[in-house]
């Protein structure tokens, strides 16, 4: 033990005598370790950010999309394929408590692009046409006013709820509530090009939604909500439903609800064989799983990149160690002539490599944690929900890898040193 401490002392003193070089040698390891820690920390932060945003939309959600999809992949509708297999009759069947007892609310959706006009101001945005049940299905908190009621929704009242950004753009100063705006669909999607649609459908603003931010790459504040029939019939001129979402009473019943909805829709669509399904039922957990697997893959990928830089750092260490060995050939010869065995010489250089990489690892951890922390502060300052996570795993991993790198890449120079012939080494100029 005493010998070990002495070894550390001697090695540290030797390394300090060559401060500049020792620092440059460890720089590769410092950057590599810091990189691993930062990337893993950012990955974890980004993951919690995405997940928290998804759950912002509401939990215990089950979505029904038209068209069949396999379990893991995204549904066809995501790629913009229009499938018309879901109808309002399906929505009513799902909403029937006799069919699916464990849901508390159902909402149907169609979406499209529209221009909202108020006076001389106009905003290009997306409209979401849905039912009055929307706030009970998803988390929709209001900044001002109210969401439209079931009656207004079913009756197709000319009312609109603005997203936060849309409201700010159209009414930079002033209260939007009660104002009449016009909604104009873009021509490419308008099959019912009647005059009224062309000049815009007048709607009364009854509410503004609270700021939600970006969820799953979509700005949730850049949209307006209108009653379902207005969007479906009047603006889009279609008779099918693009999405159905249902709120489940508790998380334990999600799978039951998925099974119930699947059964109801099969009977609605007269489907006997599961292979012929023309719809997909998903719960939010599926979406989270998919997103998690994507972000996990990214993290592993980036972690590997950082790992490669660790290996490069290790090669740097090997390089410098080789230089050190040839520079210190005479010293090695002397040490051998006064009784150092080959293994002692090997251990001395191996030890030096390990002290270098270990120190580099520690400095790298400190640097990595600091940088991750600064990033977390900045991202939070920008208004995102960002967790500052340093996983013990990443710390252990990077220190482990850096020390392993030291041993691995230090071994060759150390063996080279230990095999020097003392005479040759002593005569070396």
């Amino acid at each position: 033990m005493h010998n070990f401490i002495n070894n550390i002392k001697t090695t540290v003193r030797d390394l300090l005598a060559r401060k500049g070089r020792s620092f440059l040698t460890t720089l590769g390891i410092i950057i590599g370790v810091a990189g691993v820690i930062i990337i893993i920390s950012l990955g974890a932060g980004a993951q919690t950010l995405v997940l928290s945003q998804i759950t912002k939309l509401g939990t215990n959600l089950v979505g029904v999309l038209p068209g069949k999809s396999n379990e893991k992949g995204p549904p066809a509708a995501v790629f913009g394929v229009q499938i018309k297999t879901l109808s309002l009759a399906d929505v009513r069947a799902i909403a029937d408590p006799g069919n699916v007892p464990n849901i508390t609310a159902v909402a149907s959706f169609v979406r499209g692009n529209a221009t909202i006009i108020y006076g001389r101001q106009s905003v290009d945005t997306t409209f979401t046409a849905t039912d009055g049940s929307y706030p009970r299905v998803q988390n929709a908190e209001m900044e001002k006013g109210t969401f439209f009621s079931d009656e207004e929704g079913n009756a197709g009242g000319n009312v609109v709820v603005l997203g936060y950004d849309v409201a700010n753009e159209l009414f930079p100063s002033g209260d939007p509530l009660g104002k009449i705006v016009k909604i104009q669909v873009q021509h490419n999607s308008a099959q019912s090009l009647n005059n009224e649609v062309n000049s815009g459908v007048p709607m009364r603003v009854i509410g503004v939604q609270k700021k939600l931010g970006t969820v799953a790459f979509q700005n949730q504040d850049d949209q307006v909500f209108i009653p379902f029939v207005i969007g479906q019939r009047q603006l889009l001129g279609i008779d099918y439903v693009q999405t159905i979402r249902a709120k489940v009473d508790s998380s334990t019943n999600v799978q039951i609800v998925i099974a119930d909805i699947t059964r109801v829709l099969r009977s609605q669509h007269h489907i006997k064989n599961a292979d012929n399904d023309d719809f997909s039922v998903r719960d939010l957990a599926d979406a989270i799983k998919i997103l998690t697997s994507i972000t996990d893959t990214l993290r592993i990928f980036l972690g590997l990149m950082a790992g490669i830089s660790l290996i490069v750092g290790g090669i740097g260490i090997m390089n410098i160690m080789l230089v050190t060995v040839s520079e210190r050939t005479r010293e090695i010869g002397l040490r051998k002539s006064i009784g150092a065995t080959n293994s002692k010489i090997r251990n001395q250089f191996l030890f030096e490599a390990c002290v270098l990489t270990f120190t580099g690892g520690i400095v790298g951890i400190i640097l990595g944690v600091l940088v991750s922390y600064v990033i977390a502060i900045i991202v939070r300052y920008l208004g995102y929900d960002w967790d500052f996570v340093i996983s013990i795993f990443s710390v252990v991993l990077s220190v482990g890898v850096s020390v392993a790198t030291g041993v691995f890449f230090g071994l060759y120079p150390s063996l080279k040193a230990s095999r020097l012939d003392p005479i040759v080494a002593l005569r070396y100029e």
Binding site: N6, E331, T341
Partner: protein, 238 residues
Amino acid sequence: MLIELKNITKDYDNGGVLTRVLKGVDLSIEEGEFLAIMGPSGSGKSTLMHLIGFLDRPTSGQYLFDGEDTSLFGDDDLAYIRNDRIGFVFQSFNLLPRTSVLDNVALPLLYSNTNPKTHEHRAKVALEAVGLGERLHFMSNQISGGQKQRVAIARALVCDPKVIFADEPTGNLDSKSGSTVMSILENLNKDGRTVILVTHDMNVAMHAHRIVTIRDGEIISDKKVPSSERIHSKALAE
């Protein structure tokens, strides 16, 4: 007999050409002798010293050290002998740079089986024996050449070896420092240690009690130096 060489040869391979540096050397050295190996450069005297000092192995022949056949020793055995039985003093000192005098002297103890707590004390005792008890914490590059060689002698002494090898110990020194170094070596021999000196300088060799002259890889003369002809250096002078 401490050292017994029988028909020792040593070949060097110089890019495919075998050069026989030692051509069958027989030499016996008793414990407590003060021996000088002389010869011009290229004669093989350094090679002979390296072989006797276990820095190198002979190509053929038998080497008995303290009665043991050294051909049976492995690398670690040789390292042990170099550490425990032998002390080297080199022409170019070979001190570790950026390291204190004390740590330089204590270095061989790192490779010994001695108790680490005694190292500092032993190094101090060795330094006092060469008259450098005051310079313990100087860095090795802050002292003069003569002092460096005395530090090197202290380092050779610190493990209390039976034999001290000195390879041109005064070669890099002025005459005053050189005579100090020689007087230290003389004193070591008086204390009963075997001292083997390699030199090409007759004035240095004449300190020894026996001179072995080597030329072209063979011993051409081996004679005692009568005490009346020996050169004695003055006692430690700073």
